[in-house]
Amino acid sequence: MTTQHPLFQTLQQSRRRGQLQDAAVALAHGSGGKAMRDLIDDIFVASFDNPVLAQLEDQASLSLAALTAQGDRLALTTDSYVVDPLFFPGGDIGELAVNGTVNDLAVSGAKPLYLTCSVILEEGLSMETLRRVAISMKTAAIAASVNIVTGDTKVVERGSADKLFINTAGIGVIRQGVEMSAHNLQAGDCVLVNGALGNHGAAILIARGELALSTSLESDSQPLNGLVEAILAVCPQIRAMRDATRGGLAAVVNEFALASAVGVRLYESSIPIQEEVKGVCEILGLDPLYLANEGKLVVVAPRSQADLVLSAMKSHPMGSEASMIGEVTSAPSGVVTLQTAFGAERVIDLLVGEQFPRIC
């Protein structure tokens, strides 16, 4: 049975912390009692380690003045992470839960500052797994310069959820003058990406093990806020930016084209894709343009600024393989085309559903 008690319920700071003895998560860990307090103390407060969280209030209280000093608008986002498996080459669900939300803030031009962390735990989840995930979240938070300041824990009966789900919400501050939107594209603009596409999608497919494929591929999970800052520093007039997660490059560019009622033409030979991702796609009959990424950014810049933006991206560690991959056209409205190496054009449409491996 689940309880609705708030997670980080008020506790006296002076109270002695409990030491977590259990090897696995039990329903008691979500019941609002001592077991829950011990779990929160021993895993989350200890791992996330910051003064706001350590207050153990039901909410984080943040200084407004400190926020307004950094910009003129607040960005707020939320995302849930249900990846299977929890650990995969190049990352885990905890790192994703931090980087994903950081990136959702960053692509609005915001400086990400504070994250929340809600977990839904399946009864029986190993405490060691939970601890690893929490530590991984902390490591990712340090790398992205954000703090995890409040959270919630629920435990559900075995079979009611798959091991561990995480929701993170985040707030950040958008600095003055930055006005990015999917509606802003204009004919002549250039489309750029910060590196090779499809690694996360391919790595997860392989990590599930059902396809019996092995590679050295890793997820590209990484925080993009530093790169976004570097881009905006050279070109505050960036039209639009989005991280190419589910649905891949194809989904983002289609959203841009539809929102701005313009066409986008991509150049097949300029789109960076690693050899092994190509191999996985050949074997399974998948299109890498639709594979998910967790550290890739699609940027639309005015043509006059595009070279400047490209070199700024290339000189940042998270954009060293950046490439100019396409251009915005006045027509056909809402349509993305790909210029193939043979000089022909084909339409890159939105998928009806997710891609399945095919044999024919």
Binding site: E210, L211, A212, G263, E282, I283, L284, A331, P332, S333, G334, V335, T337, T340, A341, F342, G343, A344, E345, R346, V347, D349, V352, G353, F356, P357, R358, I359, C360
Partner: protein, 387 residues
């Protein structure tokens, strides 16, 4: 030699393309005055070819005089709804783990697809290989593991060898729902149709890897049409078109093999032997869009009846007629272009396919649906059926 990138080099296509333009003119020049306006219609039989043609945009770089007709070589496209309903009925059996290639997941039956059946609780798992299905059977002896065997002669040896492996290891809880279909009877059915308007065929290279190049000989001998067994890379397809045009330009009608690096005249003896050992030809089999075709499907032989899911489960086994408005049959014969069909792009779309050709991304209509959207958007004139 990696056997892939070498055959995708656009630079190497330039000489071929120029000669394709020259030859197509030569073919037109040979025709009677009244026929000169007719395009040169070549059918690529295989959905894999269709896929590559669209992926690389080859139609756009070919002369206008060449029209590619996308044939019936997509096994999920030609699967009749009744068979899919049977598959779903097996999958919904509580003791069954139903295993399938991803291709079949979204194909609509008369009520639902396998994907919908899975959402409703059926244990349906996508596999890459029939051997993976056998492995699931070894690991879960308490369940009956059924493999949805689809595909042409290319895939049939893999299924047959898996059955032989299961028999050798006495795996009791593994069976097949056999839906393998055969290319040659389908081509024969097309050729026997008086409406057929084709000048030549690009034959499926991977099927030919198994069956060889000899079985196509009747097309050249009796129906006087060139056949080129073709690989799947863009340069393979261009070279095959070039070879077919050379035949047409000089009046030759032969079976030629462009895919000589892989397909041999006699095919693959081990694969053929496995097929013959495990399967026999059904008297007839229904094809979506083409109707009943004699001798065109495979079923398990009596010796392997214990692996036959059709015998183990009671199936609805109903014949569900193709939708009346659907003109896939005409499209597969080259008599109509996809956009000339009455329901193309309106009632029949990739999200809600009515006919065979819209079902899979390999299907001619599904491929054209995207192209058609593009044409409309760029104001390129489209065919009369759409105006």
């Amino acid at each position: 030699m990696k056997y892939v990138d070498e055959f995708r080099d656009p630079q190497k296509a330039q000489g071929l393309l120029k000669d394709i333009h020259r030859l197509s003119q030569a073919v037109i020049d040979r025709r009677a005055a009244s026929q000169k306006e007719q395009p040169i219609k070549l059918m690529e039989v295989c959905g894999g070819h269709t896929h590559a043609i669209f992926k690389y945009g080859l139609e756009a770089i070919l002369p206008d005089a060449i029209e590619l007709i996308h044939g019936p070589g997509c096994p999920v496209c030609v699967m009749p709804k009744g068979r899919l309903d049977d598959a779903i009925a097996i999958a919904e059996h509580p003791d069954v783990i139903f295993t399938t290639f991803g291709d079949a997941m979204r194909v609509p039956g008369s009520q639902k697809s396998l994907l919908q059946a899975r959402a409703e609780g059926a244990d349906i798992r996508m596999v890459y290989s029939p051997l993976d299905a056998l492995q699931i059977a070894r690991e879960t002896p308490e369940k009956s593991v059924v493999f949805f065997a689809i595909g042409f002669e290319t895939t049939a040896p893999s299924t047959a060898l898996t059955v032989l492996q299961a028999a050798a290891e006495r795996v009791e809880n593994f069976s097949l729902f056999a839906n393998h279909v055969l290319v040659i009877p389908a081509l024969l059915a097309l050729l026997q149709n008086p409406d057929l308007q084709l000048d030549g065929f690009l034959a499926p290279g991977h099927v030919s890897t198994v069956i060889g190049t000899v079985p196509y000989q009747f097309i050249a001998d009796q129906y006087h049409k060139p056949v080129v067994v073709s690989g799947f890379e863009p340069l393979d397809i261009l070279q095959s078109i070039w070879m077919a045009l050379r035949q047409l330009a000089t009046g030759r009608r032969q079976v030629e093999n462009q895919y000589s690096r892989l397909a041999q005249p006699a095919g693959n003896p081990v694969g053929l032997k496995a097929i013959n050992q495990v399967f026999e030809v059904r008297p007839e089999f229904a094809w979506r869009g083409l109707g009943m075709i004699p001798q065109s499907g495979l079923k398990l032989r009596a010796d392997y009846a214990r692996f036959d899911a059709e015998l183990q489960f009671s199936l609805p086994n109903l014949t569900v007629p193709d939708h009346r408005a659907c003109q896939c049959g005409e499209i597969l014969k080259g008599a109509l272009k996809p956009w000339q069909c009455k329901v193309f792009g309106t009632a029949c779309r990739p999200e809600t396919p009515i006919g065979a050709c819209m079902v899979s991304s390999e299907g001619a209509c599904a491929a054209y649906y995207r192209y058609g959207r593009h044409s409309a958007a760029t104001q390129v004139p489209v065919a009369p059926g759409r105006q």
